[in-house]
Symmetry: C2
Subunit: 177 residues, 2 copies
């Protein structure tokens, strides 16, 4: 590990409410991020469009989000959904930051964006000049994966920096977990 | 970086004659492998079937390799191709080991296997209990990538351990290279 490579290294970890993303963060903290280094760890949470589209509604408006069918919600319901959505974000980021509490000189930043996760992750990797993008990955079968793995597949194909895909091993998968 | 995670960490790097695989190894040496750690770095070279199929021929035999059309070769031509094939392997492994010469306590092992690279890389990741698989990746366009990226795509989908895909950035691609 050369000193040169320890300067201003920016590691972007996409976090969400899944165990897989928390495992990816945990693995990175053990294997990628260096204590007392000048690394910057950026925790990125992307709210999908549907996450809080309701928050843009008043009691009579129709959702104009292209990814979501139209609904009418009362201000009370809208506020409840907005609160729930924000609680999820806060919970994930708080949990992620707790996992980073032992890092000393490493800067930990959080970023919350909204949009299609795969597009936002790629865009933020560029905007934030990430030197490494870390993504969690599910251990699905081939058929299920064809749909669910699209974020990590898309990102690794479209992000310019190195991409680390951390698949949470099943307990029986053997050593190295 | 906890002490625990530094114990017996086995990093498998697939190397070949491409600049991309050498860049992936170089990036890993700066960002993944730790000086004075007890990491084991395994350099894996996979000879594709066609690489030295000729070496199994005598002057009258027909190739029986399912992936290669049949040919008849003189012993001299067969020997020349065999030597060239071995020279390529030796050259890649020597270059790779030279890049690792500054590592102190890190064990560096080399492994040469023969077969379909994507299958062999996945198989060896399991057999060698790799904690991390590192692959180089080309920066091709979408159409070209659809064919050429199959090794890294297949591996990241089929290997149980974390997979680091290092794409060699084009010079204009910005910082973090």
């Amino acid at each position: 590990m050369s000193e040169e490579s320890r300067k201003e290294r920016r590691v972007l970890v996409a976090v969400d409410e899944s165990d897989e993303s928390m495992y990816a963060l945990s693995w990175s903290l053990k294997n990628i991020i260096f204590q007392n280094s000048s690394d910057t760890l950026i925790l990125l949470y992307v709210k999908p469009h549907h996450h809080d589209t309701y928050t843009h509604l008043d009691s009579t408006s129709i959702m104009d989000d292209p990814e979501t069918p139209g609904h009418v919600l009362s201000p009370k319901a809208s506020a409840a959904i907005k609160k729930y959505s924000q609680d999820v974000v806060d919970c994930v980021l708080q949990k992620s930051k707790r996992m980073c509490k032992d890092l000393e000189n490493v800067k930990v930043e959080t970023q919350v964006e909204r949009g299609n996760p795969r597009d936002v992750i790629c865009e933020m990797s560029r905007k934030l000049n990430a030197d490494l993008l870390v993504l969690g990955s599910h251990d699905y079968g081939v058929m299920k994966r064809a749909f669910i793995e699209s974020v990590s597949e898309y990102c690794y194909q479209n992000v310019k920096c190195p991409v680390l895909i951390v698949r949470k091993r099943k307990p029986h998968a053997g050593p190295g977990n």
